[in-house]
Symmetry: C2
Subunit: 375 residues, 2 copies
């Protein structure tokens, strides 16, 4: 809001008066404009434009001359100028919490991939869940006239989305957020994911089950937890609130949460449902440090199926989210919106899947501690 950086010095020899005869590599070769091409080809800018875009028939010979000039000068039209004429900028923005978290990284990758395929480019910003940053980044993106916005935040901040909704004319798709009117949301079906985890554990006979939950306001993790609790309830089991430990879904917080759990719960629960693989791997670490063997003494199930889940010790049983697909779908929907599609703006929920590996045992530690059998 304050004074913005002015180009006081005007520094280098940026942009001389539309370099004539840019062919010769004398001096600094400015990026050629359509005018340069027109001059070189001896035609009007109109003709150059039409040749380049194929928007109107142009005589073969003229076309050849123009094309040659284009190649010679290495001309490529300025999207800036083009966008000024009311066309789209072909740029979409993405607000993400952090691009280093492997789950986010993959979603981002999916978004980027689909954007590229469709000829859009992606401006990426990491918000770190800092409201100030988000505002600043959003403002910049608006100045850059993005065609649409993908939002992937972990903590659902209603006021931010309210602000967002005021921006009529900007198309928005949210990933992993509570259902929002006016905004398309792409998710995995988190509730189903939670159920999958619960049913798997129930099936194997686990009854005393802990949870490494996400932050309070985290919609995705909360939905997983809800599905988990529902499935438990349907099996006549209750979710023991005292066995729920909060994390912020990072490696470190999984580690410390598990430490706390192990310190407070004796004996420890038979199994623990972790809201994502990162916390599960952190939890494994803590369990190991505490001398517990997995899955012998304690079973763990994660969520996401990041690549690392196949390489942990033991390999992590988890619920796979179609991560890349979530990103791709979000981009797809956004682009459809941007390109004028009005219909089909319903939310999307992609189905998760159980991936069975080694971190969940065959049942509560019967063999090793037979005395608990009777309980």
């Amino acid at each position: 809001m304050g004074s913005r950086p002015r180009s006081e010095a005007s520094g280098g020899v940026r942009r001389g008066p539309s370099a004539r005869f840019a062919k010769g590599m004398e001096g600094r070769a400015q990026t050629p404009t359509i005018k340069d091409v027109a001059r070189a080809a001896g035609v009007s800018v109109t003709t150059v434009s039409h040749v380049f875009n194929g928007t109107r028939p142009v005589a073969q010979e003229t076309q050849a001359r123009v094309r040659e000039a284009i190649d010679d000068l290495g001309y490529s039209p300025s999207i800036l100028a083009r966008a000024l004429k009311g066309e789209r900028t072909g740029t979409i923005g993405m607000l993400a919490t952090s691009s280093t978290n492997p789950f986010f990284a993959e979603v981002i990758s999916g978004v980027e991939e689909r954007c590229f395929e469709q000829g859009y480019s992606l401006i990426l910003s990491n918000t770190r869940e800092d409201r100030e940053r988000m505002n600043a980044q959003l403002a910049t993106m608006l100045q850059k006239r993005i065609d649409g916005l993908v939002v992937m935040t972990t903590n659902y901040d209603p006021s931010f989305f309210q602000d967002l909704r005021k921006l009529r004319g900007l198309h928005i798709v949210a990933i992993d957020t509570d259902d929002l009117d006016q905004v398309v949301v792409v998710n995995d079906d988190s509730e189903m994911g939670g159920r999958l985890a619960a049913n798997y554990l129930i099936e194997r006979g686990f009854r005393r089950i802990g949870v490494l939950a996400g932050p309070h306001q985290h919609p995705r993790a909360n939905r997983r937890l809800k599905g988990f609790a529902n499935a438990l309830a349907e099996a006549g089991l209750a979710l023991d609130e005292s066995l729920i430990y909060r994390t912020d879904l990072t490696l470190g917080s999984g580690d410390t949460a598990m430490q706390r759990l192990l310190a407070q719960q004796r004996p420890p629960p038979d199994a623990v449902f972790c809201m994502n693989d990162l916390t599960a791997i952190g939890a494994m670490h803590a369990a190991r440090q505490a001398g517990l063997a997995i899955p012998r003494d304690l079973s763990l199930i994660g969520y996401d199926d990041i690549e690392m889940a196949s390489y942990s010790e033991p390999q992590l049983t988890t619920i796979r989210q179609p991560t890349l697909e979530i990103g791709r779908t979000a981009a797809q929907r956004l682009i459809a919106l941007v390109e004028g599609e009005e219909a089909n703006s319903e939310d999307v929920a992609l189905p998760p899947r159980l991936i069975e590996r080694q971190s969940v045992g065959l049942g509560p530690a019967r063999v090793d501690t037979p005395e608990r059998e009777k309980a």
Copy 2:
């Protein structure tokens, strides 16, 4: 090069003729222009511009009126139009191999962070080392008139950089690439990193040392290997070429390379130097599957110090690269270049550091297999 997508349908009601009285929320609220503000405030566009930018004294009262109009309408200037006047676009591009690899992700994060701090935004593209994609992405970025470019590729493709150099007027900074004239390069001091690893292993008495190397053309990994070999040589040891196995620096390839090594080398080497943490973790996995305990039967040292290195089993001893810092520095240098700084365009090499954890034992497996002692 072929026909580009035309906006044939011109679809939705995009951009009516500069919405009058945009205050009323009737219909679609277009993003207001400076003209709308001027009209609302009853002044000329000139005055609005000067008020907004503080480029000329404006009467207090007028200023107040203009500001009110700006707030009312939610005006923010179009960078497109501004850039058209020859100013910078405030956008920098980044070509990266993949944003899901944790090392890359962190570098990207550093770049993004610094860009944001300096008021630039980042267009990110994943190349997947596909030359076609790179070209297409670069072309798009050029059309968007990026002010500068950060390149982070794993395989050094001289011809690409040659092409790049032809783009005079575009500022470029490369990360992790062989020294290039005309382009600033930011690295960690990979050779020193290799030495650190070698000396640490030598110190502990390891002599028969394997290597999980990177791809042939990978400059960074090659420099590490060179430093490693040099340090070995200085200690009077030779690097056994037959103990070098190639990987492509992913988890999976670390796993399979280690499998091959274990199958072919009996007994296995005492220690293995892995070119990055991902391959080291993959290698751990393979070793475990083969029934080897780390570090009892085999010592492993990695490179990068990604977060996961602290949570693997056992925790990975590794060479830490100042990953974030590499990204930040690259962005910093690029922005300096963009803003007209000519001098100080030397390459940067940031110092790596040994992080001692648990994957390297106290020496070759004397205790457990005393018979090898005599060898």
